[in-house]
């Protein structure tokens, strides 16, 4: 049995790097800080790969994947059984996530050496990147749900710090605040869900809760509250936490605004890691969802499907390239949730689970590539908008090729990784939920369309006059692009079915030629449409937009979700709830305190006349008091 003791270093190194760079970073030269941060992460990546290889290929049993817990120590014990432990859990999905997180984080670190060069606060950036990596690693390695919650909040904090990195820009600060508040609001649901589950089962531990035969949740399925089983309530609330973090509707509002952060941050957080935390949570608790709260599982599938559809529609209209990618992320995560939602548990039924995790892996690679490529373009052109770009293929060949590879991958073209993972998702929904399959199919076409709209607008379209000729990015920025492109191509060939399934038994995959063929077809349709509209300068897109009229403007404005939320909070909550409470606080509670003070003042004003300085007044009181005492004594004696 291999020893996995070295896994302790995987979360510890980024933490140490954060503390070191955070406290002493500003004394170091920026390049040194960057190199240290990257080196730390390089070690973490090596260790993660080592862990994954040992776990997947080095195990003895040929059948079931084991759940290994190298470390687990009790941190806070509420009672004998209800303890919060801190530990490391190795399990197919956590090993996979280790690879994803460390790879993408390493690519972002290397890329930022070039992209963030010369920015003030360079060392702070690397410190925050390390903190984020530490939090995310802790989240996926959590052995119990409370540890996961703690790291969940830490991830939220790190993302706040990173989104608001340009803290002197008001829009960045507002975006960071929005992200933190929306996810915090959702985490409130998460916490209540945790508390409900732990109250009834008496444990936080994942191993105990998710054991299909002996889970204590089986004994509480009978308890119901307001007509719905308590387990469903708890799982629904926990899903709300996941929906907030993964930006599912209606919590998606923070993700487009979060593009205010530097582009490497968008790549790390919003492509590859933080937004998949919600998917990871549902996958981790999948046994509970499937065996005890199937109604919530179906809800998850629908929310995923609807999010992916609405986000794809909005993405068609956006001009800012990072916003297009943000909505694309929303859409793809919708796919992942949808796939988890329709999945069954054992054998063939569990395709959805496997497909979701597979898509998580491939999506991380190609989405990070897309964001870093977009960063490369932004770096060259100094603008985020498609309208300022065009004809860049002549100036930035490497960026163009890698971006093209990523676009083809996300569109699901054969032999690239996106094809395999998306195909499995469509197969899963085809088996289990036909309406969702139709939605997924349509979204695949939309995805191809808006991605190629993006590609053609940046690299083809009309050739513009640039004030200074854009140049290809330096090697330090293009090497991560090439590595990620390679990963996008090759990760489709990883034997996911053998390793990552819901019941931990290997699953053999076969591709249904009809589904595969039709998804490739709709992808090609999308690409062709984008070719016709955008490859060369034409006014066809504007005419189409005018024809679509109100629907187009609604999509352009992201379907007015932000305005709706602002309306609800400002007009309804503020006026009906906050204002009366504020009035009460100021006029009743503060007034009573003021009243007490006033009474004291008044009383003392009256009493101070006693100290008059007049001798005879004092003497009179003296005599009066003496006579009074005398009378009292006489009265008492007389009894």
């Amino acid at each position: 049995m291999q020893s996995y003791d070295y896994t302790l270093w995987i979360p510890v190194i980024p933490l140490a790097m954060f503390l070191f760079l955070g406290i002493l970073g500003h004394k170091l030269k920026p390049s040194l800080a960057g190199i240290l941060g990257t080196a730390g992460l390089g070690i973490v990546t090596l260790l993660s790969y080592l862990t994954a290889i040992h776990y997947f290929w080095g195990r003895e049993s040929a059948e079931t994947m084991q759940t290994l817990i190298p470390y687990n120590f009790t941190w806070l014990a509420f009672s004998e059984t209800l303890v919060i432990s801190m530990g490391i859990l190795l399990d197919p999905i956590s090993a996979m996530m280790l690879v994803v997180i460390s790879t993408v984080s390493l690519m972002v670190h290397i890329y930022s050496l070039g992209y963030m060069k010369g920015e003030p606060g360079f060392q702070r950036f690397y410190a925050f990147l390390s903190l984020f990596t530490f939090s995310m690693l802790g989240l996926v390695l959590a052995t119990n749900i409370f540890q996961m919650y703690i790291f969940w909040e830490l991830v939220g904090l790190s993302s706040f710090l990173l989104i608001g990195f340009y803290y002197q820009k008001p829009s960045a600060v507002a975006a960071a605040k929005k992200a933190f508040i929306v996810t915090r609001f959702a985490d409130f649901g998460f916490l209540i869900g945790i508390l409900i589950i732990s109250y009834y089962t008496g444990t936080f531990d994942f191993g105990i809760l998710t054991n299909p035969e002996t889970s204590p949740i089986a004994s509480i399925t009978g308890i119901s509250f307001m007509g719905i089983s308590v387990v469903s309530w708890a799982m629904f609330l926990i899903f709300i936490g996941g929906a907030g973090k993964s930006a599912m509707m209606p919590f998606h509002i923070w993700l487009p605004d979060a593009m205010e952060g530097p582009t490497p941050v968008s790549a790390l957080i919003h492509a590859a890691t933080m937004v998949v935390a919600g998917v990871y949570l549902v996958a981790r608790l999948f046994v509970v969802y499937h065996l005890f709260a199937v109604d919530v599982q179906t809800l998850i599938a629908w929310i995923g499907g609807i999010t992916s559809l609405v986000a794809a529609i909005i993405a068609i209209t956006q001009i800012d390239i990072k916003r297009v990618l943000a909505f694309s992320t929303l859409s793809q995560i919708g796919y992942m949730m949808m796939s988890l939602g329709v999945s069954g548990y054992g054998g063939e039924e569990g395709v959805g689970y496997m497909a979701s995790m597979f898509h998580l892996f491939t999506h991380a690679m190609f989405k990070a590539l897309l964001f870093l490529g977009a960063g490369s373009v932004i770096h060259a052109v100094h603008s985020n908008n498609m309208t300022d770009m065009g004809g860049l293929r002549k100036f930035m060949p490497i960026t163009r090729i890698t971006f093209l590879i990523a676009c083809l991958t996300i569109a699901g073209m054969p032999f690239l990784s996106g094809f395999y993972s998306k195909d499995e998702i469509l197969a899963a929904t085809f088996e289990h939920n036909m309406p969702l399959f139709v939605i997924g199919f349509f979204v695949a076409g939309l995805t191809a369309f808006y991605m190629f709209r993006l590609y053609f607008n940046i690299f083809w379209g009309e050739d513009r006059e640039y004030h200074h000729t854009p140049h290809e990015s330096p090697l330090i920025m293009t090497i991560p692009l090439m590595i990620l492109a390679f990963a996008s191509i090759s990760s489709g060939y990883l034997p996911f079915g053998k390793f990552i399934t819901a019941d931990k038994l290997p699953l053999s995959l076969h591709i249904n030629p009809y589904i595969a063929g039709s998804s490739v077809f709709i992808g090609l349709v999308g690409i062709a449409l984008a070719w016709v509209l955008y490859k060369h300068k034409s006014d066809l897109p504007d005419r189409l937009a005018a024809r679509a009229g109100r629907f187009y403007t609604a999509a352009l404005n992201k379907f007015y979700f932000d305005e709706l939320y602002l309306f609800v909070t400002k007009k309804i909550l503020f006026n009906l709830v906050s204002r009366p409470i504020a009035w009460f606080d100021r006029n009743v509670i503060d007034a009573s305190m003021d009243g007490l003070a006033w009474i004291t003042n008044y009383a003392s004003d009256r009493i101070k006349g006693i100290q008059s300085g007049q001798l005879q007044m004092y003497a009179a009181s003296f005599i009066g008091g003496a006579i009074g005492l005398l009378l009292i004594v006489l009265y008492l004696l007389a009894e």
Binding site: K608, G609, Q611, S612, G613, Q614, L615, Q616, A619, I623
Partner: protein, 89 residues
């Protein structure tokens, strides 16, 4: 006689008159002690002893008060009690 002294102490404004009222009170108390000694405890002399104490203390205290009155006069140029009421809030 004691209460005549008290009344004088409270009512009169002149510091010397107040001093005289104090002496009146002390003497009244002396008489009280001797009388009670004579009529209630004829075989004991405690009252007499206490009366002598009182006389001695009265003498010392009178000299002290005169010294204070002289200082007050030097500062305030008056010996009216109402005028020297400076130690107020």
């Amino acid at each position: 006689m004691f209460f005549i002294g008290v009344a004088g102490f409270i009512i009169r404004r002149n510091l010397i008159t107040i001093l005289m009222s104090i002496e009146l009170m002390l003497n009244a108390v002396n008489i009280n002690f001797l009388a009670i000694n004579r009529y209630l405890y004829p075989d004991q002399l405690h009252g007499h002893f206490f009366a002598i104490f009182v006389v001695a203390i009265a003498a010392a205290e009178a000299s002290l008060v005169i010294a204070l009155v002289i200082h007050i006069y030097r500062k305030f140029r008056t010996i009216d009690v109402d005028q020297v009421a400076d130690m107020r809030f």
